[in-house]
């Protein structure tokens, strides 16, 4: 059934693109509300993003079962930006100006988001971005439903410091912007907490690094200096599996040197034998193992939709779940899908998250989330060992970076500014103009 409809959708959108290539696309049908899905289905990022495309199709179908939105059915428009960053911009433009979608859910890497930002700004549309990222950004047309560094990294470090008594830190990451920024923030944070410079080791590796022998040995050596050591890992995607395999084989146990990761979720663990990794940690805002009735329902519905009992759920999926429901609620509140109205309506909207609370869209276009620290279990799931007592507000401008600590974002009128400087009282960074 689903296969058929989506094929029809595909053919229809194919026709639309063709029409768009020929003449001005004035033929968009008005009986559905279109939602764009901008996730890579091929190339290096397909590994993470394909699930999110499925999640969105699932959410849209669920919403249509409930009667759609504003009395219309929702219609998904799927495109494949193929892990090619300029293609993201092209596809975003196509979704908005040719397919006339009202909102886009998509992107994973920071660079793909950066690539589409100007397009959303220019064409005044909406993007819901579901992945944890480095912060230092707030844009009027973008809603950041993943974690900012303060919703992931800093609580994790606090946990290790307080609960595990860690005194020596390895900050290991893939060499790109998210780890670099997060590690800068963490370094500043750790030093503020009195950690000496020689007790911090920073290490960067290329994307897809697969030979971890040297680095794991270095970590082992660094950790044998008599002080309790932990690794804070911002290692990205593909490189994680060989990293954890090497950790397990070199016999680094979580009790000796725990590794806390910000990019390893249930999906990544599905490719691993987790028995030797029990006790290593991850910090997220959601785990599949969270014990709430909302989550149970969500997982059951997801598994029956995807037709695979083994499929896991993860944090970015929850982010899309929250973001999608927020958009639905904001559209209902505004009574229209028109971008400006939705942007005004969505701030303050609060929807249930899957961990038993409510997440709210803040004026900075980030959302409130609980922070959970989980330990890897032998069955490939996480067990929550700690969580923040309340919800944490996503902080787009880090307090630990000198140039961003005075900035705030507030997209409500009259301020309506993404980089308001509280020191100078002006919009626009340092406020020199």
């Amino acid at each position: 059934m689903r296969g058929n409809t989506s094929l029809v959708v595909r053919l229809a959108s194919a026709g639309l693109v063709a029409a768009g290539l020929l003449a001005s696309p004035a033929l968009a049908q008005e009986d559905t509300i279109k939602v764009g899905i901008l996730h890579s289905l091929s190339g290096t990022m397909a590994i993470s993003e394909t699930t999110l495309k499925d999640t969105m199709l699932f959410l849209i179908e669920e919403q249509n079962k409930k009667g759609g939105l504003l009395g219309k059915k929702l219609e998904a428009v799927v495109v494949d930006p193929a892990s090619d960053w300029p293609l993201f911009a092209e596809k975003a433009r196509e979704l908005i100006s040719v397919n006339k979608v009202d909102a886009v859910f998509g992107c994973w890497t920071s660079v793909s988001r950066k690539s589409v930002l100007p397009v959303f700004e220019e064409l005044n549309s909406l993007l819901f971005y579901p992945v944890q990222y480095e912060g230092e950004e707030s844009q009027r047309n973008v809603f950041y439903t993943g974690a900012a560094p303060n919703q992931q990294a800093i609580p994790a470090v606090d946990y290790l410091m307080n609960e595990e008594g860690v005194e020596r830190w390895v900050l290991a990451g893939t060499d790109y912007v998210y780890p670099q920024t997060t590690n800068k923030i963490l370094e500043a944070y750790l030093k503020a907490k009195g950690v000496a410079a020689e007790d911090i080791m920073v290490n960067y590796t290329p994307f897809g690094h697969s030979d971890w022998q040297t680095i794991v040995t270095d970590i082992k050596n660094f950790g044998s200096a008599g002080k309790k050591t932990a690794v804070v890992s911002t290692i990205n995607g593909d490189a994680n599996v060989p990293f954890y395999k090497e950790l397990a084989n070199q016999g680094i146990k979580a009790e000796d040197i725990p590794v806390v990761a910000f990019s390893v979720g249930e999906e990544e663990l599905a490719g691993l034998d987790t028995e030797p990794l029990v006790g290593h940690l991850a910090a997220w805002n959601y785990f599949q193992s969270v014990d709430t009735s909302e989550n149970e329902e969500f997982i059951a519905a997801w598994k029956s939709y995807i037709g695979d009992d083994k499929r896991v759920t993860n944090d970015p999926m929850e982010a899309h779940y929250i973001g999608f429901n927020m958009w639905v609620k904001a559209v209902e509140k505004a009574g229209t899908t028109e971008a400006d109205a939705v942007i005004d309506a969505i701030v303050g909207v609060s929807v249930p998250n899957l961990s038993g609370g409510y997440s709210a869209m803040m004026p900075n276009h980030h959302i409130t989330k609980p922070v959970l620290i989980g330990e890897i279990q032998a069955d490939g799931q996480f067990e929550t060992v700690w969580e923040t007592p309340g919800l944490v507000v996503g902080d787009e401008w880090s307090d630990y970076l000198p140039d961003s600590k005075d900035l705030i974002a507030d997209w409500r009128a009259p301020l309506s500014c993404g980089n308001f400087n509280v020191a100078t009282g002006k919009c626009g960074g340092k406020g020199i103009n």
């Binding site: 595909r10 001005s24 660079v111 790109y176 960067y204 020199i432």
Partner: protein, 407 residues
């Protein structure tokens, strides 16, 4: 005088038509985009302007590759590197144009440097606030890299597959280098969030149309340049080097200089293509250095027909239009289609679309001449015509020019 002499050669009617088409598009598309309201059937939407503008930059890149591969026999698997370097030079200019409008409001440092705690602008970023300087760098950086790389490689007589692989190593090394945040080029995120170019907002329709026109004109100029080179004695020499390198050496030419010239000119063209590409897509990042991208350029050129001037342009336009269409229409299946296309073209159209068409036409003409059963006089005249065409569009003979890796 000299330029005049240079440019008359090689301008066959076909190339004149393509140049005329491009110049026409450079005028017409902006007019249709700006002068007609979106509701008019004559309106060209912004989306199309941006898309086709991007394709034209790819076409210029493919043409640049064709100059070295089709005419000189150097299969570069690293041409994306020159494209990306030109793009980065333009990106650096555009970054400096942002000035204090970045999110941190720092007038000197781009945003990514601010939040990574850079204190001052690295030396190699100086000067890029001036367009003329950036424009020189757009050509000089890829040109210089190609010159230095080619100087060593061609002098050492690295040929064939070895050369292809080290060009790939070059672009791969640059990819890794530009990924490094310490390099000061924005790491994986690259350069983005551009505001102005030459004082005009990059997002504005008029600027987009102007960039489109610039791309079309640059491509037209590129075609004229390649046609002129191909039609000159040097062009003949390039083909000679491609077909029998040692022969040229034993009659006193230095093939390494010929290759170096072609490689450098081609790199500069690729750099210009990259520079025009960046403001139109709004981002430049290390992904452009990926070896897969460079291989894709080779594929466009092969599909269109290497050793012809129109072929690579046609190939670049067709493959990219196909990619745009497939990724929207058949997102799960498009790699099958693209992969199948590559296999089919190499198997069934080894000379590419234009090459095969030329061959078919030549065969048909021969047949017609044979049917007419004319004496030798007119037949010779016909031959002369073929000869003229072949100096600009030089079909690659099978087997001969290819490097043979296995010895």
């Amino acid at each position: 005088m000299i330029t005049q002499r240079l440019f008359v050669a090689g301008l066959t009617p076909r190339i004149q038509i393509v140049i005329a088409l491009l110049v026409g598009a450079a005028v017409l598309v902006p007019v249709l985009n700006l002068a007609f309201p979106p509701s008019s059937p004559f309106h060209v939407p912004n989306y199309m302007v941006a898309l086709v503008g991007k394709y034209l930059c790819y076409a210029l890149l493919a043409l640049a590759l064709d100059l070295v591969w089709g005419y000189c026999g150097i299969l570069s698997l690293g041409h994306g590197a020159f494209f990306a370097l030109g793009g980065y030079a333009m990106g650096m200019y555009l970054m400096r144009q942002i000035g204090a409008r970045g999110v941190y409001g720092n007038p000197d440092l781009p945003d990514f440097m601010v939040f990574l705690n850079w204190k001052e602008l690295p030396w190699y970023w100086h000067g890029f606030d001036q367009f003329w300087f950036a424009a020189i760098m757009i050509m000089a950086v890829p040109g210089l890299l190609a010159f230095v790389f080619g100087w060593f490689a061609f002098r050492s007589r690295v040929t064939g597959v070895y050369l292809s692989i080290i060009t790939q190593a070059m672009t791969y090394a640059l990819l890794l280098a530009f990924f490094r945040n310490d390099m000061g080029f924005g790491g994986n995120n690259g350069l983005t969030d551009f505001k102005d170019i030459l004082g005009f907002p990059v997002q504005a329709s008029a600027t987009r149309s102007a960039l489109f026109a610039a791309s079309a004109l640059a491509l037209a100029a590129g075609i004229a340049l390649v046609a002129a080179i191909a039609g000159s004695k040097l062009g003949k020499l390039m083909v000679a080097v491609r077909d029998a390198e040692s022969r040229t050496r034993f009659i006193g030419w230095r093939p390494e200089n010929v290759k170096l010239f072609a490689f450098t000119v081609s790199a500069v063209m690729a750099g210009i293509a990259g520079a025009l590409y960046v403001p139109q897509v709004g981002i430049i990042n290390p992904g452009e250095f990926a070896p897969a991208n460079s291989i894709e350029v080779v594929v466009w050129t092969a599909i269109g027909g290497r050793g012809t001037i129109v072929g690579p342009i046609l190939g670049a336009l067709l493959v990219n239009a196909g990619k745009s269409w497939f990724t929207g229409a058949l997102p799960e299946l498009w790699l099958f289609a693209l992969g199948g296309l590559f296999v089919a073209v190499t198997l069934f159209l080894p000379k590419g679309i234009v090459g095969t068409y030329d061959q078919w036409r030549a065969v048909r003409r021969e047949r017609r001449l044979a049917k007419a059963d004319l004496p030798s006089g007119p037949a010779e005249a016909g031959d002369v015509r073929i000869v003229r065409a072949s100096s600009a569009t030089s079909p690659v003979p099978q087997g001969g020019p290819e490097p043979q890796p296995a010895e």
